[in-house]
C-alpha cells in the first residue's frame, strides 16, 4: 500500500480526479446542490463520504493511528477542491470533521484512535457544542458545568446553535470545570455521547426554514472521564487550536462551495448586461481572494505552525465572500429570488451566508482581534497599549 510519503498531493490530485471522472455517473446523486431537508443533505453527504473512504481517497490526510493512510490537511484540501471542481457536494459532516478532527488527534489521541475514523468516514455524526444562550462571541463566559464524580463527569447546562446537533451521535463540548468566574482558565473539552440519559436535543429552525441547528440540554449527564479532550481546565487551548482549523480549512471548504454556487448562478442568469457581469465578476473575485488566503493558512497548519490572530483576517474574508456572492445571486436572480418557489435553494443559502459573520466569533470579534493583536491599535478602554 502506498504511504503518504509516496503520494504527493499532486499525484493524489491526479489520481482522485481520474477516479471521480471515471465514476461520473455513479456519483451523479451527489451533484445536487439543494436537498429538501437538512437531514437529507447530511445523509447524501455521509453516503459520499463512505464511498470516498472505502475507495481510500478519504483516508489520505488522516494519520494511520486514526484509521487513515497518512498525509495531512493538504491532502484533504485537495479532496474538497476536486469534489467541487467536479460539481459534487462536500459532505456536510466534513465541515465539522475539519474543525474537530485535528484537535481530537492532538489532544486526545486515544479517542481519535478509537472513534475518529467512524466520524470522518460518515458512519457517525459529531457536532460542536460550544455556544450557550449567554455565551456567544464571549465564549469564555460559558456556564455548562461538569463536576467530577468518581470515573465520570456529571454535566448540567445548555448548548445552542449546534449544527447537525439533533442528528449527532456525539457532541464535542466545552464545559466549565473550574469556578463559575474562572473564565478561560476553568474550561474543559468533553466528548459527550448523545444516547446517555439526560441528554435532550431539539432542532432549531433558521429563519429560512432550514433545520440545521439544535439546542442541547444536559440534565445530570454522566460522561466517562476518559472522554476529556486535553487535560481538565485546558479546554481553552483546545478551542483556540481548533479555531485555527475553522479559520483555515473550514474557510477553504466554503470557498469550494461558493465557487460551485457562482458556476450555478452564471448558468441560471439570463442577463448579459454589464452591471450583472460586473457584480458576478466581483463576487467571483472575492471568492478568489478567500481561496488564496485560506490555502496559505491551510499550508501553515499542515506545516504545524500556530496561525494565531492573523487568522481573523481569513474569517473576515470568508464572510465577505459568502455575503457578496449570495447578495449578487439575490440581485441577479430578480425577481425569481422573491417570487419563484423553485428558488428556495438560493433563498436558503442567502440566509445561511448571513451567519458567516456571526458564527465562530462574530465579525466584530474578528475585527477587534485584528485591531488589538495585529494592528496594535490602542485598547478599547482607552488605556495606552504597549507594543
Amino acid at each position: 500500500m502506498l504511504t503518504a510519503e509516496d503520494l504527493s498531493t499532486e499525484d493524489y490530485r491526479a489520481g482522485l480526479r481520474s477516479w471521480l471522472i471515471e465514476r461520473q455517473s455513479a456519483l451523479a446523486p451527489y451533484r445536487s446542490t439543494h436537498a429538501a431537508t437538512h437531514a437529507e443533505l447530511v445523509t447524501l453527504g455521509r453516503q459520499l463520504a463512505r464511498e470516498l473512504w472505502d475507495a481510500d481517497w478519504k483516508r489520505w490526510g488522516w494519520p494511520r493511528d486514526a484509521g487513515g493512510l497518512g498525509g495531512g490537511p493538504l491532502h484533504r484540501a485537495v479532496l474538497y477542491d476536486e469534489l467541487g471542481g467536479q460539481g459534487l457536494l462536500l459532505p456536510e459532516t466534513d465541515y465539522v470533521a475539519e474543525v474537530l478532527g485535528d484537535a481530537t488527534i492532538r489532544f486526545a489521541p486515544e479517542i481519535a484512535r478509537k472513534l475518529l475514523a467512524d466520524f470522518v468516514s460518515g458512519r457517525e455524526i459529531w457536532a460542536q457544542g460550544f455556544s450557550e444562550p449567554e455565551a456567544g462571541s464571549d465564549l469564555a463566559s460559558l456556564r455548562t458545568r461538569a463536576v467530577r464524580d468518581g470515573d465520570d463527569y456529571v454535566v448540567s447546562g445548555q448548548k445552542i446553535w449546534t449544527s447537525n446537533g439533533y442528528l449527532a451521535d456525539r457532541l464535542f463540548t466545552l464545559v466549565r470545570t473550574g469556578t463559575p468566574d474562572s473564565r478561560h482558565r476553568g474550561i474543559s473539552a468533553l466528548l459527550i455521547d448523545t444516547d446517555i440519559p439526560g441528554v435532550t436535543i431539539r432542532p432549531l429552525t433558521y429563519a429560512s426554514g432550514l433545520d440545521e441547528m439544535a439546542e442541547c440540554f444536559f440534565d445530570d449527564v454522566r460522561v466517562p472521564a476518559d472522554r476529556l479532550i486535553g487535560a481538565e481546565n485546558a479546554g481553552w487551548g483546545v478551542a483556540m487550536f481548533l479555531l485555527q482549523f475553522e479559520r483555515g480549512m473550514y474557510a477553504w471548504m466554503r470557498h469550494v462551495w461558493l465557487r460551485g454556487r457562482i458556476r450555478e448562478l452564471a448558468a441560471q442568469v439570463k442577463a448579459t448586461d454589464t452591471a450583472s457581469a460586473e457584480a458576478l465578476g466581483r463576487a467571483y473575485q472575492t471568492v478568489c481572494a478567500l481561496r488564496a488566503r485560506s490555502a496559505a493558512t491551510v499550508r501553515r497548519l499542515a506545516a504545524g505552525e500556530m496561525v494565531g490572530p492573523e487568522a481573523s483576517a481569513d474569517k473576515v474574508l470568508l464572510a465577505t465572500a459568502e455575503q457578496t456572492t449570495l447578495d449578487t445571486a439575490r440581485q441577479l436572480l430578480f425577481p425569481a429570488f422573491e417570487t419563484d418557489p423553485a428558488a428556495e435553494g438560493w433563498r436558503s443559502d442567502w440566509w445561511y451566508t448571513r451567519a458567516a459573520s456571526v458564527y465562530g466569533g462574530s465579525g466584530e470579534v474578528q475585527r477587534t482581534i485584528l485591531a488589538d493583536r495585529v494592528l496594535h491599535l490602542p485598547a478599547e478602554d482607552g488605556r495606552e497599549r504597549k507594543g
Binding site: A279, Y284, Q366, L375, P378
Partner: protein, 330 residues
C-alpha cells in the same frame, strides 16, 4: 527561493535605491545585480520591488522592464508605451492606412531611442525620436506619467514587428511562439497589484499612526471601536489581495494576474475609504500624506484595466459559460 533574511536585505537595498529615484531604473537595478536576483526568485523579487515602490510613492519605469523582460526584448529596448487607461489592455497604436495612430502613456520621459508598443493585435518596437509627449496631469500629477498622442508615418516609426502582424521575431528561435502582449500584460498586472498593495499598506500605517496619536474626548481615537474596525477591515482586504497576488505567480495565467490586480484595486479602494474617514480633516489636508496614497492607488488601478473593468470582463466570461477558474495556489 529566497529566504526571509535575504528578502529582508533585498527590500532594504530597494528602499535605499528608491529614496532618491534613479532616472534610469533599469541601470540602477542592473547595478544591484537584478538579473541574478530575478533568476533566483522572480516572484519574490518583483513583489518586493513593486511593494516598496508603492510604499515609498516612488515612480520609475520599472514596470517597463517587467514587460520588456517578458517579451524577451531586453537587448532591444527598455521602454514601453502603455495603453491609455480608457483602452484597458490596449492596443496603444493602430494602423490607419500608411500612418499609425498612437495613444498611450509613458511612465517617465522617453530618453531611449526605442520603445515597445502594442500595435493592433501585434507588438512593435517603435523609434521614439519623433514622438512628442506631454504631462498626463489628472488625479496624480506627481506620478509624472506622460501622454503620447500622435499620428505618425508608419515607415518612419516602426523598427520591428515582434509578434503577430506578419513581423519578424526578434530574439525568438525558429518555430517558437514568442510571448505576446497578453503575457506582458499579465506580468505587468502582477507587478501593479503589488505596487497598489504597497500603497495600501502605507495608507493603513499612516492612518494607524494618526489614530494612535490623535485624541478626542480624552482618548486616542484609535481606541474607539468603529475606528479600530474600519482599519481591521482594510487590513483583511489587503491580506486577501496579497495572498491572491502570490497565487497569481504560482498559477501563471493571464486570468489569475487579472484577478489579482482587480482584487488589489478593490482592496485599495476599501483601505482609503476607511483611512480617509478615520484621519478626519487631516486626511484631507495637503500636508498630510494620505491624499498622495489615495491618488497613487487609483492611478495605478486605472492602468491595464481597472478593478471594475476586469470584474466586468471576468463576469461576462462566466455568464458566457466559462467554468469559474480555481486559481492555482501551489
Amino acid at each position: 527561493m529566497m529566504d526571509e533574511e535575504t528578502l529582508g536585505l533585498l527590500r532594504g537595498s530597494l528602499r535605499q535605491l528608491l529614496t532618491t529615484p534613479p532616472a534610469d531604473i533599469a541601470a540602477a537595478l542592473a547595478d544591484l545585480g537584478w538579473a541574478e536576483v530575478l533568476a533566483e526568485d522572480e516572484p519574490a523579487a518583483t513583489t518586493a520591488l513593486f511593494e516598496e515602490q508603492g510604499d515609498t510613492l516612488t515612480t520609475t519605469a520599472a514596470l517597463d522592464g517587467v514587460a520588456v523582460g517578458t517579451l524577451g526584448l531586453g537587448s532591444v529596448t527598455s521602454r514601453v508605451i502603455w495603453p491609455h487607461p480608457a483602452d484597458g489592455t490596449g492596443p496603444a497604436a493602430l494602423r490607419d492606412g500608411g500612418r499609425i495612430r498612437l495613444r498611450g502613456i509613458v511612465l517617465s520621459a522617453l530618453t531611449d531611442e526605442t520603445a515597445v508598443v502594442p500595435l493592433g493585435d501585434a507588438v512593435a518596437v517603435v523609434r521614439t525620436g519623433g514622438l512628442s509627449t506631454r504631462p498626463l496631469g489628472g488625479l496624480d500629477p506627481d506620478a509624472g506619467w506622460l501622454l503620447v498622442d500622435a499620428a505618425i508615418d508608419a515607415d518612419t516609426l516602426i523598427d520591428a514587428a515582434i509578434h503577430g502582424d506578419g513581423g519578424v521575431g526578434v530574439g525568438v528561435g525558429v518555430g517558437e511562439s514568442p510571448p505576446g502582449w497578453e503575457d506582458a500584460v499579465a506580468a505587468a498586472r502582477r507587478a501593479l497589484a503589488s505596487e497598489i498593495l504597497g500603497v495600501s499598506r502605507r495608507a493603513l500605517i499612516v492612518a494607524g499612526d494618526h489614530v494612535r496619536s490623535r485624541k478626542q474626548f480624552g482618548r486616542a481615537i484609535g481606541s474607539y471601536q468603529s475606528v479600530r474596525h474600519r482599519l481591521a477591515e482594510g487590513h483583511a482586504a489587503v491580506v486577501g489581495a496579497t495572498a491572491l497576488t502570490a497565487s497569481a505567480w504560482v498559477d501563471g495565467t493571464p486570468w489569475a494576474a487579472a484577478t489579482a490586480k482587480a482584487v488589489a484595486g478593490w482592496a485599495h479602494a476599501d483601505v482609503v475609504r476607511h483611512a480617509m474617514q478615520v484621519c478626519g480633516g487631516m486626511g484631507l489636508s495637503e500636508e498630510f500624506p494620505l491624499h498622495r496614497l489615495v491618488r497613487r492607488g487609483y492611478l495605478l488601478d486605472s492602468l491595464l484595466g481597472s478593478a471594475r473593468m476586469i470584474a466586468r470582463e471576468q463576469g461576462g466570461e462566466l455568464l458566457a459559460g466559462l467554468d469559474p477558474p480555481g486559481i492555482v495556489v501551489g
